[in-house]
């Protein structure tokens, strides 16, 4: 079957999750004797495009028209529909990102193609087409069968391992015939924070909770994060108290993340917090309460006062960095 991957990029770089989606597509193509086409909106370097080939895209379609500079959901939906139909795509892959969540559901209605979001692994079966997806904030998975000819998936991080699978990656620049006037939203301003590691892309995340006692005590967490090249996060009470900005709140109602390593400091591990981090590969918990719920989710734990453990941990990281 023909598989279309709608990739995402930022600052000219294709996102890791989009490469994962190409790997996913490649795996799926193998079991269905299909082919993989990647779509790129916006300008990225030739080197980035060749990376798509490395992970298994036989064809790469680029859309560089200025019309697509900003996301208008209706415009993008129509453009992707046109590309999908031209390519006779049977499976359309997005990542479960802000972009995927904005466009994939519209496309699903427009094409009357069944949608599964938050997909966590390769299909359990091809006929019926059944995938496993995240539900109940990570407390469960649900198996969903898509009954339509065309299927749309939004993939969670780590749904497929990133594996090299060199393919032709023939690049073709295209311009969808969609009339630009369908875009009714208008961008007035873009406000970007620079120099910060994005939680959605961070391999390691250092996070503080109520146990940090005050926003003034964040220095050691910042230092640890900087040493590890990690993103900084916090639990809900911390952002509710205004100690840290809402952008850093991870948990059920905040950001949902899935880093390789999540270091929770002074976080008791309320179920709502776990909902935002349960996709992490490894969780380290540091808390002074040995009975804190966080330890039942953690791979490694230290029972101790954050203000005494953190300086020691920072020294240990420095020692390892120097070794």
């Amino acid at each position: 079957m023909s598989i279309l991957v709608i990739t995402e990029n930022r600052n000219g770089k294709i996102k890791k999750q989009s490469f994962e989606a190409v790997s996913y597509a490649c795996n799926l193509a193998k079991s269905t004797s299909g082919n993989v086409t990647a779509v790129v909106f916006g300008e990225v370097t030739a080197d980035e495009l060749s990376q798509l080939a490395k992970y298994g895209a036989a064809k790469v379609l680029t859309v560089t028209s200025d019309t697509y500079k900003y996301l208008d959901n209706q415009l993008y939906t129509l453009a992707i529909q046109e590309i999908a139909q031209k390519e006779s795509a049977k499976v359309i892959l997005f990542t479960h990102s802000g972009f995927g969540k904005a466009v994939a559901p519209r496309l699903s209605v427009r094409m009357k193609a069944g949608l599964a979001t938050g997909v966590t692994s390769l299909p359990v079966s091809i006929s019926p087409f059944t995938v496993k997806r995240r539900a109940y904030n990570g407390s469960a998975f649900s198996n969903v069968s898509i009954n339509t000819d065309v299927k749309i998936l939004c993939l969670n991080p780590n749904a497929a391992d990133l594996t090299e699978n060199p393919a032709a990656g023939q690049v073709e620049n295209i311009t969808p015939s969609v009339d630009a006037s369908v875009a009714k939203t208008q961008i007035k301003n873009v406000d970007l924070v620079t120099g910060k590691i994005l939680l959605s892309e961070a391999g390691i995340v250092v996070s503080g909770g109520r146990g940090m006692k005050s926003g003034d005590n964040w220095k050691p967490l910042e230092e640890l994060a900087a040493l590890l090249g990690a993103g900084l996060a916090c639990s809900r009470p911390v952002s509710d108290e205004g100690w840290r900005s809402h952008e850093e709140h991870v948990g059920q109602t905040g950001k949902i993340i899935a880093p390789d390593l999540y270091i929770a400091v002074g976080i008791s591990g309320a179920i709502q917090h776990i909902g935002g981090i349960s996709g992490s590969k490894y969780i380290v918990a540091i808390d002074k309460d040995k009975d804190a719920a966080i330890f039942s989710y953690a791979s490694y734990g230290i029972v101790g006062d954050a203000f005494q453990v953190l300086p020691r941990l920072i020294e240990s990281v420095k020692k390892y960095k120097a070794s």
């Binding site: 959901n73 904005a102 519209r106 009714k184 961008i187 301003n189 490894y282 490694y300 390892y320």
Partner: protein
Amino acid sequence: MKILVCIGHVPDTTTKVKFSSNMTAFDETGVQWVINPWDELALTRAIELKEQSGGKITQVTVVNVGKAATEPTIRKALAIGADDAIRVDADPADSYVIAGQIAQAVKADHFDIIFCGIETSDYNGSAVGAMLSEFLEIPSVSAVSSFEIANDEIVLKRDIDGGKETLSVPTPVLVVVQKGICINPRIPAMRGIMMARTKPLKVVPAAPIEPLVSMGAFELPPARTACKMVDAEDTDKLIDLLRNEAKVL
């Protein structure tokens, strides 16, 4: 101007998630039902906007797709401050059905602004809002964390990777909201609870819409291996484990 807020009826967020013995259904025993948290934020913002509008916004309506069991949740939305409610008497089989049923029920009402929460805390689908906008063929903006009306212009902020975009949108528009859209959800006051009893709640029959996906069994995540405890004095040991056992450093 009229605002519609789509509300989901979900288990309280502290619920211990359990399933029937054959894993095909969520076990509702002892579950407290609430308004989906993001929808509650959307409703709060809608009521604030109406209060600040100087009479320009005349109505805040809530809509839910579900059987009669969802009515206490709908009444809670009325108690918080919605003016009236619609319940589409249908089984919310998948996101497509939910969005399609809402579209059928409200398309003649010409709402200017439709709010939906970014996801429900049970299915985590993140799809109904954007699907509804496509059914209604109106513009949509997702991941919205700020919504203002100034001089008759709607200005909103959408979260993007590493920042925010400010957009201007026309009406009608569907807005999918997330955290930040209001500070705290409003809690119903006694007077609101009394008034909610007599506010209109219209029940609309289901339209013939078939789901596009079918739900199979649930699974619980694999049990986590027991947490390895490291002595608080021995942070070198933790680094060693992260490097050589977990291989994440």
